[in-house]
Subunit: 597 residues, 2 copies
Amino acid sequence: MDRLARYLPVLDWGRRYDRQAFLGDALAAAIVTVMLIPQSLAYAMLAGLPPVVGLYASILPLVAYALFGTSRTLAVGPVAVVSLLTATAAGTVAAPGSAEYVAAALALALLSGVMLVAMGVLRLGFVANLLSHPVISGFITASGLLIAASQLQHILGVRAGGHTLVDLGGSLVRALPDANVPTLVVGLAATAFLAWARKGLRPALQRLGLSAGTAALLSRTGPVVAVAVSILAVVALGLEARGVAVVGDVPQGLPPLALPPFDPALWAALVPAAFLISIIGFAESVSVAQTLAAKRRQSIKPDQELIGLGAANLAAAISGGYPVTGGFARSVVNFDAGAETPAAGAYTAGGIALASLVLTPLLAHLPTAVLAATIIVAVLSLVDLGALRRTWAFSRFDFAAMAGTILVTLGFGVEAGIVTGVALSVLLHLWRTSRPHVAVIGQIPGTHHFRNVRRHDVVCSPEVLGLRIDESLYFANARAIEAVVQEAVAERPEVRHVVLNCAAVNGIDASALESLELIMHRLHDAGIRLHLSEVKGPVMDRLARSDFVDALTGRIFLSHHEALAELAPETTRDCDAAVRPPIDAGRTFPERTQRGR
Amino acid sequence: MDRLARYLPVLDWGRRYDRQAFLGDALAAAIVTVMLIPQSLAYAMLAGLPPVVGLYASILPLVAYALFGTSRTLAVGPVAVVSLLTATAAGTVAAPGSAEYVAAALALALLSGVMLVAMGVLRLGFVANLLSHPVISGFITASGLLIAASQLQHILGVRAGGHTLVDLGGSLVRALPDANVPTLVVGLAATAFLAWARKGLRPALQRLGLSAGTAALLSRTGPVVAVAVSILAVVALGLEARGVAVVGDVPQGLPPLALPPFDPALWAALVPAAFLISIIGFAESVSVAQTLAAKRRQSIKPDQELIGLGAANLAAAISGGYPVTGGFARSVVNFDAGAETPAAGAYTAGGIALASLVLTPLLAHLPTAVLAATIIVAVLSLVDLGALRRTWAFSRFDFAAMAGTILVTLGFGVEAGIVTGVALSVLLHLWRTSRPHVAVIGQIPGTHHFRNVRRHDVVCSPEVLGLRIDESLYFANARAIEAVVQEAVAERPEVRHVVLNCAAVNGIDASALESLELIMHRLHDAGIRLHLSEVKGPVMDRLARSDFVDALTGRIFLSHHEALAELAPETTRDCDAAVRPPIDAGRTFPERTQRGR
């Protein structure tokens, strides 16, 4: 039962469900439903799919997540970035508007669902960690710009396309002479209203006498107001006849339940894209879920979240939808409106189902320019160019990863962008840790403390060289350590003992073990013994699994002081400050402050 | 002048060259020459090239390395693994034996030379660090097996081929009925003699009254003895008429000097292979050079080594050779024979040039089976299956990287093998560090020391949660830390302060900073303040470049004890040992030993 409840969290919270929780969930669901209708239509359009697919993706997937997800307040459904990734991937195998294109979107949901569930069962959630923060941030900024650019065609009432900023821009400029003025008026009016509504609607509602909370919630209904007003305008002013493009007939009714077509060739072609959709969707969703859970001192289980999102995508695949994940804005609304359990998601699904049954005839007259305006205003709020400046100040490495991701995404498309970003951040991490800080250390007279000889007035023994390694040892830096030791010893002919202080070494792998053995043998050939001091438990346990400890020419000392006391009991002298330590940099914070004192 | 000497080390050691150095170098060169003649013929055959190409690759490249290299004793020339990589790469663009094939090998030398020099000038030697020890070790074992299998055709006197063990094996089994018995006799005799000579020749020579040193050096001449005896046997017994394949006419004379043909399409096709050849050749060569330099307390400069090896490959490209690098066995012989400066390499080049002028007519009657035997005995000595067992005992992660490299190399070829190995070791490293050890720490009563509550009898404050993070913080583990803190706090409703002890945190990147900020905001939402203690200097400097320190809800304490004294001055109690700490494992070595006392 406990095991079952782990995979079906509904069995846990469902047993304690009461009237109070129901009221909170129902109110939140009503508000999220109103917010989700225009969003799901708009994101389906962004994905190049019929608008109704967005509605379908907002029904069963929400029920599936309610059963399997661990976040109390995450609101699942179509989101901007995943819609763009869907458009890119489906566009490589079929023409937008074709039945094959819709089938490709279904296949992406299916593959993504299978991958997410598999990663959850195998506990592989860590894969999402490969997306470093600068890469995600850069990717979202760049894809926000790409998405906004791709929607300008609907505002202008023209056709344009392309997967890069240059292609899109060129296509738009060429199409500019064909712009439809009534469409432009509707589109710009909607954009202006929605941009104002994000910031200005809430204080305006408060001035009308609404409470702060109610005003905050109602301010999220801007898109619905824009949708309703624009439908009225189209009908009243006969704008369709004046060239304003509308959504057109939306099939009325519930989503069709059917297994996606069996098409291994199509699946094979979409596997890489489905993998990107899965990990990007997961990374974004988990981050939202964790932030909201923390506010109520709850916690989520990332591996079970994989299963929850996987189930949602499988549900999308069998009910005419396309890939979904947790959305930021609507989850915050759900949370603020008082959702208490995942049941709120199921009630939202009910609301969208009702809309599919009842409201679809009205949507036929909805201008696509208004949907485009919804998307543009939503994604531009995600563009954060200031992050470039902050990241530059913090670290050139992280800046390089972020800037690389942005440039490649804008210049070569979303898939190239995310792959470049991940490769860059992994390589930069390896490079950053490939030259560890190593300090020659000496004793602060009269104490048991050892510090960098370049930073402190310390004493050393000419025969004993103490080196403190400030990094875990693994393959990327193992050879650097060899070189550092070799150089340090080559500069000090009188050295007879090398003591590596390992207090900051948190781990060691086989390459580093090999390097330690090489260092030991090379030192031995030169008549020098190798010792270690202050080795941490996990590292010691690891070393004990090899024959290194037995073969060691020197000893392993509990403290560096003990090593010095044993190896150089009498003769200490001032360290030769002129001697260049092998690698320059760094000091510990307490050291610096002690100096200041 | 100093700057010039950095790029041309010959300007440094050349000025101090004396008679003593000349004698040492000349003797070493004579012995290495004798050893190198059969090796260079054999490895050219392994690379699918005419044997004379091996001689050409052992002349100018050695002179170039003598001018630009930093190792005093590294012996450069054709080596087994690089020859196999050359065969694989050239085989994809041309048929072995064709002029295009030879041109492809030249192009590989050219590209590899350009890449190595470029990496040297840009100081990118760190790229070789991506080859972890288990990957190199597994790759050499697997390619040794592949090479040995590929040479069995010459021992059997048949034709067989393939780039994987399965293809090679199948091809050999099918060809078995055509085996030539005289060839088999010659081949097995040579293999048996060479295998014995590796171990048995030296004691035998010592029993004959030679000194240990002389015996050791002469024992390396086994291959030359086999070559000479087999040539005599072929001529005396008329073995060619009985179907024993021989090397055939070898052009007499010095290598032709010519720029390699300008062929951008060919170069583009060979770039990935040339890159693999470059980094594998460099990694192997640097490891040999460092080991030998250490024995005399010398040091080498890895970035200048890139330039030296690059120059050697460029020299090979303009003199009819193919890719070269530093060889292990011949460098050891060079060292043992008393080489004192890189001039020994230049003298060896002179010896090989002399052989090309004088000895080539004799080589026409050399059986290819003897060359194959030379290769088989040499590469099987590199096969180290015991390393699998040792690595398994040391770490499952490293074992997985090694086993993966071996299996993919044997099953899918050398290029797939090395790429898989690198990808595996990087992913496993990221995974290994993605779940850092985090301990809940408490105070050892009466001391300023804090230890893991699960390992020690310590006291805690119910309001202050101390967490020690035993890993540098970066993108792969940033989210794990978020989850750990969140879970730890969710389990302890009375907590009002969280103090992260950062004594073991050597670095922090933008993702980790973002996570710390998220942790801080989430804790703040739950009414908890976040503090840090014992932050190292480099980490503190990094944090100071963001606004994290200003925004921090708590303080940064120099010592964890200070934090406790400030935040929980009076009330401490026994830690609730039943409380499960967020992540289990590990302890420090001093702690364990102190317990033992």
